[in-house]
Every structure is written in C-alpha cells, then in structure tokens.
C-alpha cells in the first residue's frame, strides 16, 4: 500500500512460558494507512490491548516485525521504543490519565516538552489551538480534578493531537463514559480525523462506536478473524 504508515508482519506475542503460556497475539499481519479511522474489536482477552501496546511501542513482540513509514523498527531497547513513541505515537486511555498536578494547558503541552520542544510561545499557541479544537478553551487553567470525565477525555485527546503523531492509539477510550458523552467523544475523534487527517486506531466493545469506524478489525484468540472496510 503506497500510503502505508505502519505495517505489522507476522506479529506474535506470547506471555509466560510452560503451563502458564498465553498466546496473546498469533501471527498478526496488518497494515495501516494515513488518515484511517479504525476500530479493533473482539471479546475480552482476544488481544486488543496487546495489539495496541505493540503498535504503540509500549511492548515488543515475541516475533514478527513492525515497519514505520516503510522502515523496519531497528531496535527494541527501552530507549529506542521510547524514541519511537515520541516520534510516532500518541495515546488516549480508558481512564484519561491526565497528570493531576498539572493544569489543562500543562497537560496538553507535556508531550511536546517531552519531545524536546523549547519554543515556549509557539508551544502555547499550539496548545490553545488544540483546546479550541476539543472545545475546552475556557478550561485552560483548570486542574483535571475540576473536570468531568468527558472533559478530561477531551483534554486527553488534545494532548494526543498536539504533537501531530503518525497514529493516535486509544484503548477503549469511551468505556468509562456514559453513552451520550461516549458518543460525543467518538464524534469528536471522527471530526478531527476528517478535518486534520489524523490516523486513529481504537479498541472498543461498544457497537455504537464501531458504527463510526471506517474499518473494523475483529480479533479472536489473538488472530485477525475479520478485517472489513466500510464506506
């Protein structure tokens, strides 16, 4: 695929050994294109989180290769994985995971600072743009504890987008939200996907979320059981 930003080849992940051995991912091959809005679904324990973790360079596969924008990931050391994450990946978590001691603006700018940004005014401008995008300009100096769950997840989305990642990974981003807020969050993600062309890959149990996906990958026992595009 010409526009492939990320491809997985024969990824296998095995946890433990002997009696306790669990094959969380079994020979998974897939490729992701720029601007995708893709859901990973499947029953509990089917390997969704494991897949996202490996794509997110949080974990390394037992075997198989990952290639970012055509070049295979060269090394699996912790520092190298961290470098890949800084460059390519952003995360949205089920439990939002904002840093409680930082205010909204500081939370959003964190990935840029970690990635080495030093130009403070440019950084602030970028952060305020992102907050406007997620509709939280008026909450810039609140602490996470002063926000609702939906608002926290919006901040988390702004945080994920701020450094223009190659791909945004979201493991069950709406599982902690009521259905209306969950819907708003998916709509926001989809809107950003269309407006900015950001690539999203999210896992979900929620059928209503799946409906918005352009592509749905179904995992069963660590294997890809279905990979359907929608138009």
């Amino acid at each position: 695929m010409a526009d492939s930003i990320l491809s997985l080849h024969a990824i296998t992940k095995v946890y433990g050994s002997g009696e306790q051995k669990v094959v969380a991912l079994d020979n998974v091959t897939a490729s992701f294109a720029r601007g995708e809005f893709t859901a990973v679904v499947g029953p509990s324990g089917s390997g969704k989180t494991t897949l996202l973790n490996i794509i997110g360079c949080l974990d390394s596969p037992t075997s198989g290769t990952i290639a970012w924008e055509g070049s295979p990931m060269s090394s699996m050391t912790r520092a190298a994985l961290a470098a890949y994450r800084r460059e390519h990946v952003a995360f949205i978590f089920q439990t939002y995971n904002l840093i409680p001691v930082l205010d909204v603006v500081e939370n959003v700018e964190l990935p840029l600072i970690i990635a080495g940004a030093r130009d403070k005014p440019a950084l602030r401008r970028k952060v305020l743009d992102m907050l406007a995008l997620v509709g939280l300009s008026d909450k810039a100096h609140r602490r996470p504890a002063e926000l609702s769950g939906g608002q926290e997840q919006r901040v988390a989305i702004a945080r994920a987008l701020v450094k223009d990642p190659t791909i945004v990974l979201a493991d069950e981003p709406t599982a902690n939200l009521d259905s209306r807020t969950a819907h708003e969050i998916v709509m926001l993600m989809r809107e950003i996907n269309q407006k900015l062309g950001t690539t999203f890959l999210f896992s979900t149990h929620d059928p209503r979320m799946m409906e918005h996906a352009r592509r749905v990958i179904t995992l069963m026992d660590g294997r890809i059981a279905a990979d359907e595009g929608r138009s």
Binding site: R78, V101, E106, I114, A115
Partner: protein
C-alpha cells in the same frame, strides 16, 4: 538527547507541595536531625572554648614569657632561672603587643603553708594585684574577703578548707630561696577564691609581690610575664593569635621562651579533633534515620502515581528522566528539611550562645579533672557546621532517592498503565 528537565522540576515540585503533610513530616525528621547535630557541635565547641578560656583566665594567660632554661625545668619552678631584668623585658614585650593587650608579672614558687597545727605544700603565686586582674580572672572568683594586698593572701577554696583557714586567720609560709636558704613569714588570710580548676583550688595561694620580696629576697625574682591578648571570636583564631605572638616574641628576645596557650593545650586540642569526629558519627546516624523516612515517602509517592509514571513513559519520557523526576522530589524534600534544620539549629545555637547553660548541670557532680567547674557553657557559632549540616542533609536525601527512583524507572509501561 531528550531532556525534559524543566517539566520534571515542575511536576516534582507540585507533587511535593500537593502532599505537603507527607513532605512536612519527612522534612521535619531531617530538620530535627540536623538541628541536633548543630546544637551538639555548638556545645562541643562551647566546651572546648570554656576549657581553653579557663586555662587562659586562670593559669597560662594567652602567652607566658619565661626564660628558656626555666621552661626546660618548669615542673620544679626553678627560681634561679627567673627573668634576668624583668623591667626591661616587660618594656620590650609591651612594644610588640597588639592594641588592647595587657601584661603582668608573676612569680610561682613552692611553699609550705602552716596553720600552726598542720602543714601542707602549696603553690604560691606572687602577683601585682592591680595589673594581675587585667590579665587573669582569679580576683573575680572570691567567695570570701578581698583580693590580694600587701600582708594578706588569697587561698584556693579547697586549700583553705583543708587547713581550716578563714578570712582573718593567720598562716605561716615557708619557702626556699634561689640561693637555697629557707625563710618563713606570717601572713593574714585576706580572701578565699573558688577557682574553676580543681588543681588550683586545691593548692594555690596568691600573695603580693611585695610580700614575696620579703620572703624570697630583694630584688624579687620574676619567673614569668603573662600576656592577655584581646578576645577572639573563635577558639581557633584565639590559638592562632597567641601562637603568632609567641613566635614574634621568641624571635625578638634571645633566650626567651614564649609559652602560648596553643602549646599549653596541645594535648587537649588534639583530643578536640577526635570529639568533632564523634559528632559527625552522630549526624550520620541521625541522617540515616531521616534517609529511611525519605525512601519510605518516595515509595509511597511512587505507589500512588504508578499510572502517572506509565503515562509519562508512554509519551516517551525515558527511564533516566523518570528516575530524575523522583530524585528531584526527594532532593526537594531534602533541601526543605535541611533549610529547616539549619534554621532550627541557628535558633538553638543562638539561644545557647546568648544564655548559655551551667557546665556543672551538664556533667553533674563528676570531677572531670582538667575540665573547669562553675563556668557557664556558651554555644559557639560554627559556620562550617551549618554548611556541612546543609550539604549532608541534601546529599543524604539524594542518596535516599536512588533506590525508589530506580524502581520507578524500571516499571514496565504496560504494567503501569494497567495498574489501578
């Protein structure tokens, strides 16, 4: 290099403030430890100070000028080795003294004191009563009667008690002159002094040089010229000043030995070094306890923030920076605790320096021989101890962060994110 130092300080500082109670307790342990170290150090220095001051005030003066031959045989107090022309030596010495110094002649000689029933050996010190009080403090310790005047002597309180002598009583002094002949004379007891050094109190007797001339013959031999230098802020400065003057006097006056307080207290000063080492052992033990507190606080902090660590790591913060984050937190607590320690320490030392405590109440009734009695122990300021206390505190807290910080940096990201 991806260094996110400013944001690390930001997060660390806010966590420290956010859990201020925990921070305060941990820092207080450190503060109390450092404050006690400073107080202890100040008291040790105060003890050294009063010990040396007492030697200066009652026994040696800052610098005592004698002949070299007298000094070689000092234990027998050889009158025949007295200063040859004391007046001219006094004048030459006076010219070399710094502003604010005082000097006085003294003659020490062995005597026997009798109350007509019992007789006991004693150490007679012949003084010029007016000048002597500008150099020595003996006259300030009278518990009965008056200071020395022609015809009447002052006795050390224990000596007076041993002989059953009181003010107004009479005694007989017997001495051997420089030429070996013996003479005796009758004198009144004019005063009794409680001297802070047991040895002086037990055997000293002060009389006027005029009376000494009657018993030892004219012209009265002068065995030493004692010099008081202007007071110095620190003990070390005092000793250094005395040694410098002694060297200067010896260079200027042939055949003269200038015996400084530094020389007189050489053994004691050597022991002092050992004691200060002991106080560093003390601070180490205390800081060790504080370090355990810091380790514990950081582990608690880490445990409650595992997911935060996961997020930072997920966004690419490297293990080294995560380690640094926790180290900074610990060091911030350490800086706070150390600052608190030197503040509390300064307060305690300040109180001790201003009001002092009775040395006797510290040591109880124990007779410490060389150590003075009945003297107020005042705290000494030792800036070096404050700097040391602060640096030790920060260093120890930094060391205490190593283990928790390393543990934080080794957490698996995936585990950390799953952690609830």
């Amino acid at each position: 290099m991806h260094r996110a130092i400013p944001v690390l300080w930001n997060i660390a500082a806010r966590n420290v403030l956010r859990h201020w109670k925990r921070t305060l307790i941990t820092a207080m342990v450190l503060s109390v430890g450092i404050a006690f170290f400073l107080l202890f150090d100040s008291m040790l220095a105060g003890m050294d100070r009063i010990t040396i001051d007492t030697a200066v005030d009652y026994e040696n003066s800052s610098v005592s000028v004698r002949t070299q031959r007298y000094q070689q045989d000092v234990a027998s107090l050889p009158l025949e080795e007295a200063l040859a022309s004391p007046d001219s030596i006094m004048n030459s010495v006076a010219d070399l003294l710094p502003q604010g110094s005082h000097l006085t002649p003294r003659t020490r000689f062995h005597v026997r004191v009798s109350n007509w029933i019992d007789e006991t050996p004693a150490l007679a010190v012949a003084v010029d009563p007016d000048r002597d009080s500008t150099v020595f403090h003996t006259n300030t310790r009278l518990v009965e009667g008056n200071w020395v005047q022609p015809g009447s002597v002052v006795l050390g309180s224990m000596l007076a008690r041993d002989l059953g002598l009181k003010v107004g009583d009479w005694l007989v002094l017997t001495a051997i002159r420089a030429d070996g002949s013996m003479d005796a004379m009758e004198l009144a007891v004019g005063g009794v002094a409680d001297l802070p050094l047991t040895s002086l109190s037990n055997q000293s007797l002060y009389l006027d040089l005029v009376d000494a001339a009657r018993i030892l013959g004219e012209p009265v031999p002068i065995t030493e010229i004692d010099i008081r230098l202007p007071s110095s802020l620190t003990l070390d400065a005092m000793v250094a000043q005395a040694e410098a003057l002694a060297a200067k006097l010896e260079a200027a006056l042939p055949g003269i030995e200038a015996f400084s307080i530094g020389e007189a207290s050489r053994d004691y000063l050597a022991m002092k070094e050992m004691k200060s080492k002991f106080s560093y052992v003390l601070i180490f033990v205390v800081l060790l306890i504080a370090a355990v507190g810091i380790v514990n606080t950081l582990l608690m902090s880490l445990y409650s923030r595992i997911r935060e660590v996961g997020v930072l790591a997920a966004y690419g913060l490297e293990p080294g920076d995560i380690r640094r984050l926790f180290s900074i937190e610990g060091v911030l607590v350490g800086i706070a605790g150390s600052l608190g320690g030197i503040l509390i320490g300064a307060l305690l030392v300040g109180l001790l320096a201003r009001y002092g405590i009775s040395f006797d109440s510290l040591v109880g009734n124990a007779d410490l021989g060389a150590l003075p009695r009945g003297i107020l122990l005042k705290g000494q300021w030792n800036p070096a101890a404050f700097v040391m206390g602060f640096l030790f505190g920060v260093a120890v807290s930094w060391l205490a962060t190593i283990l928790p910080a390393r543990r934080a940096s080794r957490i698996e990201v995936t585990e950390a994110l799953r952690f609830v």
